[in-house]
């Protein structure tokens, strides 16, 4: 072929994209990328939905005697405050259950998301389209840190309402004494709001773990799950054997529960016992008093939270850079 020299300006002109009026730009691309994650990783939505459905079904078929202090719940002198506490505890337990499921599926999702595309070679398809590595990694973080957590928060709220309705129906049908079923919309909303704050706190606090999973996902040549879970188990073990210390283990444990200690003001909470001096152990202070004991401000301002976010940002940036030329097929 002839070596036809062209000016850079002449050739650069060809790169100017044609009219892209029909295309919604960055926002549409991001929405498409996020949807694509739910097509591929169906466990992300199936697992929480299935868990919630199972809990509602359990509530539907709930029967038998609930005993409090050795007496049947129907004969127990239940105060309205106690009944409300039970409902709120149920709200929290539901939330915890769905969060556990979410932690599980989101962890495996993050470990898999940048590894699977190389394993099945589909990375060549993704990379044949005008989507940058930064946007690709961002879409996976949006799924893991925004869309799924918010979805689970909504789902937990809806599930609690559904279960409350089921119990109200049980009560109406005489399966359950009416005075144990309680509902207070204002308190329910306050608790939901607190759970949302806790959710945001948790997502931010766990960001370094998310970043670490992404990094393993982009680096692993095989068996990404083994690497992701093996390193945090083997390194402390090695430290224990070689040095006889357990600093790494303590650090990792801290990076998991540390922020909740701050939130609970280092265990200085008074949840169940309250100012118990009656004849019943099942005595609770008002919900308001309890919720007021959580130190959200201190937790969100904790330096370790922000140091963790910096570490997470570094790992996420590294994962983006590595994906650029990661090429082992």
């Amino acid at each position: 072929m002839s070596t036809n020299m062209t000016t850079p300006a002449g050739t650069a002109g060809m790169a100017v994209p044609a009219s892209s009026v029909a295309h919604g730009g960055l926002q549409q691309t991001l929405v498409t990328l996020v949807r694509r994650e739910f097509w591929e990783h169906r466990a992300l939505w199936i697992a929480p939905l299935a868990t919630a459905a199972l809990l509602v079904v359990c509530a539907l078929f709930a029967h038998g005697n609930i005993q409090v202090d050795g007496t049947d719940v129907g004969d127990h002198p239940f105060s309205a405050r106690q009944a409300l506490a039970v409902s709120t505890i149920a709200q929290g337990v539901l939330w915890m259950t769905l969060n556990l499921v979410m932690a599980f599926v989101v962890s495996f999702y993050l470990i898999d998301c940048l590894y699977a595309e190389r394993r099945d070679r589909s990375i060549y398809f993704w990379k044949s389209l005008p989507v940058s590595d930064g946007l690709t990694v961002a879409s996976k973080l949006v799924v893991a840190m925004v869309v799924v957590p918010l979805g689970v928060w909504v789902l937990a709220g809806v599930t609690h309402i559904a279960i409350s309705i089921v119990f109200a129906a049980h009560s109406a049908l005489g399966n359950l004494p009416s005075h144990v079923v309680a509902w207070n919309t204002l308190i329910w909303l306050r608790v939901e709001l607190l759970l949302l704050l806790g959710l945001i706190l948790g997502v931010l606090w766990n960001a370094p773990i998310s970043g670490y999973f992404l990094l393993v996902s982009v680096l692993a040549r095989r068996n990404a799950v083994m690497w992701a879970l093996g390193i945090p188990l083997l390194v402390p073990l090695l430290e224990r054997i070689v040095l006889g210390t357990h600093y790494i283990w303590a650090f990792m444990a801290y990076r998991i529960h540390g922020i909740w200690d701050v939130l609970a003001n280092h265990g200085d909470l008074n949840f169940i016992t309250g100012q118990a001096n009656s004849d019943s152990h099942f005595n609770v202070p008002p919900i308001d008093a309890l919720l007021g004991q959580l130190h959200f401000r201190a937790a969100f301002l904790a330096p370790d939270l922000w140091l963790g976010l910096i570490a997470a940002a570094a790992m996420i940036y590294a994962a983006t850079r590595i994906r650029r030329y990661r090429d082992d097929t």
Partner: protein, 285 residues
Amino acid sequence: MTAVIEARGLTKSFGAQRALDGVNFTVQAGRIVGVIGPNGAGKTTALKAILGLTSFTGELRVMGLDPRLQRDALMRDVCFMADVAVLPRWMKVSQALEYVEGVHPRFERSVAEGFLKKTDIHMSSRVGQLSKGMVTQLHLALILAIDARLLVLDEPTLGLDLLYRRKFYDTLLNDYFDKQRTIVLTTHQVEEVENLFTDVIFINHGQVALDSPVEEIGSRYQQLIVSAEQAGAARSLKPFYEHKVFGRVAMFFEGRSAAELSALGELRTPSIADLFVAKMQRVTP
């Protein structure tokens, strides 16, 4: 004519081994270029460099852009098919269309749907359920619907049966290619597609062994079939490769005039496949 791809001193090393060793070539707009070479010759590495999928040294401009730094902008104008079966197995056909429509500003969904209607592919099927040939058809449907300036295909029909291969190249040539577009294609099955090419580049051991428009091959390279008696005289004109054909000898010359060769035997324009074999044999003694 404008250069779509310009490579100068393109070099890529894997440890001590040089996959590309100072390669120079230019691809003009509106051409169909066959990049041909044995396995491990550096073809795929060259394509990956063009697509910004690998790091390299040297100079490379694709549509005036540096694939290392401006990959995202480049991919609006460049389309590629790395190999068969890189579409994810979990994806539904409808999702594939929806995805490309969502991320590519120049994707015309109706074109892809029109092409798919002519195949046995159903919208609700998952890629994993399709045959290899159908997956390639689906990928082709997506590519046809993207208004790209440069299409890069790396062994797009590897492992497909003859009917799918034939249909693939027919579609490419009739429904896709026009003078505004450029296609760069690597393949093993040279015989089947040599009529498709307007230009060929042979790559071997990381170097360009031949780079020529197809219409110039006849004036640059000659294949001479001579009888055994004439072989000695023909050899004095220094063929770069020869092999025996039914008791006669086929010799390959570069830059000889028809007049001096035709006196010795039967003169032909070598096919790209024959020329490829001749060239590769020469550089690998």
